[in-house]
């Protein structure tokens, strides 16, 4: 069985994709560092980062990115946990509801922003509903540049709507690794639904909760199109800084500096993710 070709075969099969990823990730990564850290003469410089720090939008972008992260991630982890426990109770029709809850994941960040724009815009559906109900007498400007709370709320809602399903899928997979007998035994000893969730399921779900948290953090650093769709440039974020520096100001070195900040933040989170205790590989594979 183990002929020479048999030993070479796996490498032959893996090599093309490895080479492709190396070319499309490692080379541009090196180029990004070069763009961000090299001066025009080729020497080392921090000038691009100094320009970035001096950029009127940078501190706002940094603050807003983390503000959105702090607001969105806990909210959607809590929501996803509630949905996961609900679906996992296996009520009749839970499969259909589970499918419905995951559909927003099919929507891109840009499209999600536009979907919720239909709700939050001045003559949108939110104002229409409130007006018809008599709650307001004229449209509220949720997305006006001077309504910071309104802008943030709309973005938090749109982004939570779209990506809660990602957390949900991680948690559902985690729940399925927990033997049902544990919960059933606890029920036998008189533990109610709530106590079983808190004392039996939650502690065992911790690895999945941790990975879900970190995965969402990584994506939060890239939050961009949903913000542009709802707030335009009135709410700067880090990834938006990369885009605007490049697309509007044609300043690829500044764009690269922004990009390096996002990459660094993501790498810290990825290292964190890999060092988390995950479910046993063997358990998962078969």
């Amino acid at each position: 069985m183990h002929t020479r070709t048999g030993q070479l075969l796996p490498f032959t099969l893996v090599l093309p994709s490895m080479a492709f990823l190396a070319v499309l990730i490692l080379i541009p990564l090196a180029q990004a560092l070069f763009l961000a850290f090299a001066s025009d003469s080729g020497g080392f410089t921090l000038a691009n980062f100094q320009r970035m720090l001096a950029d009127a939008n940078f501190s706002d972008a940094y603050r807003n990115t983390f503000l959105l992260l702090v607001l969105i991630v806990p909210l959607q982890v809590a929501l996803a946990l509630a949905i996961a426990l609900l679906v996992n109770s296996r009520f009749r029709g839970h499969r259909l509801f589970f499918l419905i809850y995951t559909i927003p994941l099919a929507v891109s960040d840009l499209a999600a922003g536009l979907l919720w724009l239909a709700a939050f815009t001045e003559r949108g559906y939110l104002n229409s509903v409130l007006q018809n109900a008599g709650v307001i007498s004229q449209p509220v400007l949720w997305l006006s540049f001077d309504n910071f709370a309104g802008l943030v709320t709309a973005i938090v809602i749109a982004e939570s709507w779209r990506t809660t399903a990602m957390v949900l899928l991680v948690l559902i997979a985690g729940l399925e690794l927990i033997p049902r007998e544990l919960s059933e035994t606890a029920a036998l000893f008189g533990a109610g639904r709530f106590r079983r969730a808190v004392h039996v399921v939650l502690p065992l779900l911790r690895p999945s909760l941790q990975s879900a948290l970190v995965i969402r953090m990584i994506f939060a650093f890239q939050t961009f199109a949903v913000v542009f769709a709802l707030a335009g440039r009135n709410l700067p974020v880090l990834a938006g800084g990369t885009y605007s520096s490049y697309a509007t100001n044609h300043d690829e070195r500044l764009a690269a500096a922004y990009g390096v900040v996002i990459l660094a933040l993501s790498l810290v989170a990825i290292v964190l993710y890999l060092s988390l205790p995950g479910p046993r590989e063997a358990e998962v594979e078969r």
Binding site: A118, W161, Y246, S266
Partner: protein
């Protein structure tokens, strides 16, 4: 059983509220996209519009460049499917079938690339593509999208081959079939649905991607890149119509591959 009824009422009530939360933006965008021209700026808008019309949609589709952008998106997505499957599927097969040196390292690479913000690399890639004469081409966008899709293709296809028993292939080889023949006749047919799912997933990744597509193109815009570039200038009605066409294929394809979602976002 009063308590049981109450319990069930609570479960279905919650489930229903959550379902409305998940679906209502789709409803908003659909009724927005089919609003007759006379009602585009009506306020307050009825939640159940008395009339729908494709006239506004037709007008914008004919004039705004949405259709060419959609064709670009389609070409890029199909190219992404071909490249990511051609490269990812063999690697997935190797991971599922062989124990080889570097296997663990390769698995780690797949995991890291799944989470790595590949799109951010579009900035330095733009400089490289300019030098190669590939800038502002559909090919350059498809290459970046392929890099984003490959880890997902490997996860889906890998899970499919892990689930198929290896014995059948070995039996076919013992009976005189070549390794390739055994693969093609025994392993491939039952893996086809999984390969199709991987292809669809790659398609959706590409169809939805906006950052790299915006950075790497000026005229060869995909639909999301076109919409993003004209966000500050295009009328609301056009935004909603464009969003409708961005969302529709993605959602349909997504529902088709629902069985494989846990493979992608499940435990690592």
């Amino acid at each position: 059983m009063k308590a049981g009824t109450l319990d069930r009422g609570l479960i279905y009530g919650t489930a229903l509220v959550l379902a409305i939360w998940a679906l209502i933006p789709f409803y908003f965008i659909a009724i927005s996209a089919f609003t007759p021209q006379s009602n585009v700026s009506a306020y307050p808008k009825p939640l159940f519009p008395g009339s729908v019309s494709v006239a506004t949609m037709q007008l914008f589709l004919e004039s705004s460049g949405v259709v060419p952008a959609m064709l670009n998106s389609l070409a890029v997505a199909l190219l992404t499917v071909v490249v990511s499957l051609a490269l990812g599927a063999p690697a997935a097969y190797a991971l599922a079938r062989f124990r080889f040196r570097g296997r663990a390292a390769f698995r780690a690479v797949v995991l890291v690339t799944k989470l790595f913000p590949v799109a951010i690399l579009a900035i330095p890639l733009a400089a490289i593509f300019v030098r190669l004469g590939l800038y502002d081409s559909l090919i350059s966008v498809a290459l970046v999208h392929s890099a984003m899709a490959i880890p997902f293709v490997i996860l889906i296809v890998g899970a499919v081959f892990v689930a198929l028993p290896h014995d059948l292939e070995e039996a076919a080889e013992t009976l005189g079939s070549s390794r390739w023949g055994a693969f093609r006749r025994v392993a491939l047919p039952p893996a086809m649905p999984g390969l199709a799912a991987a292809a669809i997933f790659a398609f959706v990744i590409s169809w939805n991607e906006v950052f790299a597509a915006s950075i790497l193109t000026v005229r060869a815009r995909t639909l999301p890149a076109q919409v993003l570039a004209s966000l500050s200038t295009s009328p609301l009605a056009l935004k909603f119509i464009a969003a409708f066409f961005m969302v529709l294929p993605a959602v349909i394809f997504f529902i088709l591959i629902r069985r494989y979602l846990r493979t992608v976002w499940g435990p690592r």
